[in-house]
């Protein structure tokens, strides 16, 4: 499913094959390399074994490491996430998959009252080095209970780092960083970036990934595209949409957008956002999570708290407008931050 695509990119020097991996494959490669390095790393979750993860994040791990280290669990998220916590407290480094972010409702107590608080409650004496992975996002008509992003909810609650990669190379590096981190890390992958053969995908969800293990720093945003006219702050699948819009508008209207890929929500790289906004004077926040009380408001607040004068025009937001994600394609596409809505948001911002 999540096959490694090894091709020779056009223009590459003869003999230098570019390793092109899907994001799913990049994630599982990161986990595999850490499992090779550190016997304390185990993988737990529903369908992480023979299936390889419903969205491919654990593909090939069972074959490589066997059922002692890659364990399919019962549909008992409270039990197996809590098990991950106890194992982490005893020095293991579990990677635990919650199949959909939407499912946090059946196990949130273990996540926010235990995983995220034990280090604090213990005055720093107990560490919980675990990674909680989860699939997020819509765009394929999976409706209200299987399409949410919800990363803002995890980021709102203290004690867990939250990372949200947008591309294969960052996905691998952030996974390795997450496993090596001594804190609980919530690792959210959008289904639309995984490069799955059974879902429409952006071409950027299959890209070059270095073979050797490497860390992508948690808490450091990336400038995905440099530009001068406005800053688009976004993450995950919306980075792809924003880059597509930026390319289109550059060609069509001569508009030069800067696109910031946050990559981490906790810690949030406020500096990179502020320095970009300081240059462009215009800010659009694109977020596939719900609009109110979330990431887009947080970005706005951090700019306003620092210096509202950085903005030469009122900022704009493109997010899910506080409705559940509908099933019908026509309705779903109306509320997701599609390229069309992002483009309209940019126009609105530039004429303000």
């Amino acid at each position: 499913m999540s096959a490694t695509e090894t091709t020779t990119a056009s223009g590459a020097q003869a003999g230098q094959a570019e390793r092109r991996l899907t994001t799913a494959r990049a994630i599982s490669e990161g986990i595999a390399q850490e499992m090779e390095r550190d016997p304390a790393v185990v993988v737990l979750g529903e369908d992480v074994g023979a299936y390889g993860g419903i969205f491919g994040a654990t593909g090939g791990l069972l074959e490589q490491f066997g059922p002692d280290r890659v364990l399919d669990t019962p549909i008992s998220e409270t039990a197996f996430i809590g098990l991950g916590i106890g194992a982490a407290v005893e020095g293991m480094r579990p990677v635990v998959e919650l199949m959909f972010a939407d499912f946090f409702g059946v196990c949130m107590d273990q996540i926010y009252n235990h995983m995220a608080k034990i280090h604090f409650e213990s005055g720093g004496n107990v560490k919980v080095p675990m990674v909680l992975t989860m699939a997020a996002g819509g765009g394929y008509s999976d409706a209200e209970q299987h399409s949410q992003c919800l990363w803002g909810t995890f980021a709102h609650l203290p004690g867990m780092k939250v990372v949200v990669p947008s591309n294969p190379a960052d996905a691998k590096g952030l996974m390795i960083s997450a496993i090596r981190d001594d804190n609980p890390v919530v690792y959210v992958f959008h289904k639309g970036i995984m490069g799955l053969p059974w879902m429409a995908k952006n071409p950027r969800s299959i890209a070059h990934v270095p073979e050797e293990p490497y860390e992508t720093p948690i808490g450091k945003a990336a400038v995905a595209r440099e530009g001068t006219d406005a800053t688009v702050v976004t993450l995950s699948l919306s980075v792809h949409h924003a880059l597509d819009v930026a390319e289109k508008l550059a060609e069509q209207d001569g508009v030069d957008l800067e696109v910031i890929d946050l990559r981490s929500l906790v810690p949030l790289d406020t500096e990179t956002v502020l320095s970009s906004v300081a240059r462009t004077g215009r800010l659009l926040v694109v977020d596939e999570d719900y609009q109110s009380f979330g990431l887009s408001g947080e970005i706005a607040a951090r700019v306003a708290e620092t210096d509202p004068g950085l903005l030469r025009a009122p900022l704009r937001r493109v997010a899910v407008p506080d409705v559940p994600i509908p099933y019908a394609r026509s309705l779903e596409q109306a509320v997701l931050p599609t390229p069309e809505r992002i483009e309209a948001g940019v126009h609105d911002l530039l004429k303000a």
Binding site: T73, S76, A79, G82, A87, H119, S122, G123, N125, P158
Partner: protein, 324 residues
């Protein structure tokens, strides 16, 4: 059972009770005349374990260094019986920098990694982490076990049932201990639970289950010994339900108006009963009992003094320890 074991059980029960009596005294000392839950040297909710000492003593007697215990919102007796650092535990209850959690956690959130002890204020949610500790132990050297203590009210929580299934499925070295003190705050078990014994629920998960009546520390010791041995031998989890006694309120300040048998409660106190039984058996005499109580009192007062002498956490450190 030999005399030494029984005296040890008595000694543990006595220090647990002595401790709770001291905390009771300190908790209420500066909440007079009007009770204000947030006031005083020990603020906040306070769930004391008087009456439940036989559970802690009988179960923890079988544990060794390296074994783990997770307890509940009513954790002191289990913590003491498992050998949690008494000075630091007390300082934590007093919210001091010298506490187990540097005053961040308080009495429902005690973590002593040296003895692998933790507790949680959320009903039944201490069970899943115990599974994880057992999971780690099973993969490591030795025959370490994890004990997960919870209450009879917790046996109707999803976390309880998920944990029993997963522990049995993976044959984890866990002992589930249900403290049935008859009351989920004000709700009696016949209002909350469809069956008479939660131990019967073990059969649904393919593990042995046993209910122990009468808050009997000798019986608890014997049955818990079998369960711990079973876990150490790699035979998987056991579910024990122990009918115990909540001698005092759910929390301090609970008027217990809902409790019809209140007048009979002091007569069911397990410690005088055990004292009498040991005396009749020639294991204990009044002089020994007095000595054991004096020792307990001295140890507890030392812990209280340690707590009071420990500094209050500086407000400017409130943001520390969110991340490692």
């Amino acid at each position: 059972m030999d005399s030494k074991t029984r005296l040890d059980l008595y000694r543990v029960m006595v220090i647990c009770r002595t401790y709770e009596e001291a905390i009771l005294r300190e908790y209420h000392a500066d909440k007079k005349p009007a009770f204000d839950i947030g006031a005083g040297l020990v603020p906040g909710e306070m769930h004391l374990s008087a009456g439940q000492e036989p559970v802690a003593a009988g179960v923890c007697a079988h544990l060794r260094p390296g074994d783990a215990v997770t307890a509940t919102h009513r954790p002191h007796h289990v913590a003491i019986a498992h050998g949690v650092d008494l000075d630091k535990m007390t300082a934590e209850i007093f919210g001091r920098e010298g506490g187990l959690g540097r005053g961040r956690g308080g009495h429902m959130h005690l973590f002593d990694p040296n003895v692998h002890f933790s507790c949680s204020g959320i009903i039944a949610e201490g069970l899943p982490p115990a599974l994880g500790q057992a999971f780690a132990f099973k993969r490591g050297e030795g025959d370490r076990v994890a004990v997960a203590v919870t209450g009879e009210g917790a046996a109707n929580q999803g976390a309880f049932h998920e944990s029993l299934n997963l522990a049995a499925l993976w044959k984890l070295p866990v002992i589930f201990v249900v403290e049935d003190n008859d009351w989920a705050i004000s709700v009696p078990r016949d209002v909350s639970t469809a069956i008479g014994s939660n131990a019967d629920r073990a059969a649904a998960y393919g593990m042995p289950g046993q209910r122990i009546a009468d808050n009997d520390v000798d019986a608890i010791y014997t049955v818990a010994g079998d369960a711990v041995a079973r876990a150490r031998a790699g035979e998987g989890p056991t579910l024990l339900e122990i009918h115990t006694l909540r001698l005092w309120g759910h929390f301090e300040g609970d008027p217990q108006a809902y409790r019809p048998e209140l007048a009979d409660v002091p007569g069911r106190d397990p410690i005088p009963a055990y004292e009498q039984r040991l005396t009749e058996a020639g294991v204990l005499n009044p002089g020994m009992a007095a000595e054991i109580k004096d020792e307990a009192s001295a140890r507890v007062e030392k812990a209280i003094a340690f707590a009071k002498s420990s500094p209050v956490p500086a407000p400017e450190t409130a943001l520390q320890y969110v991340f490692a």
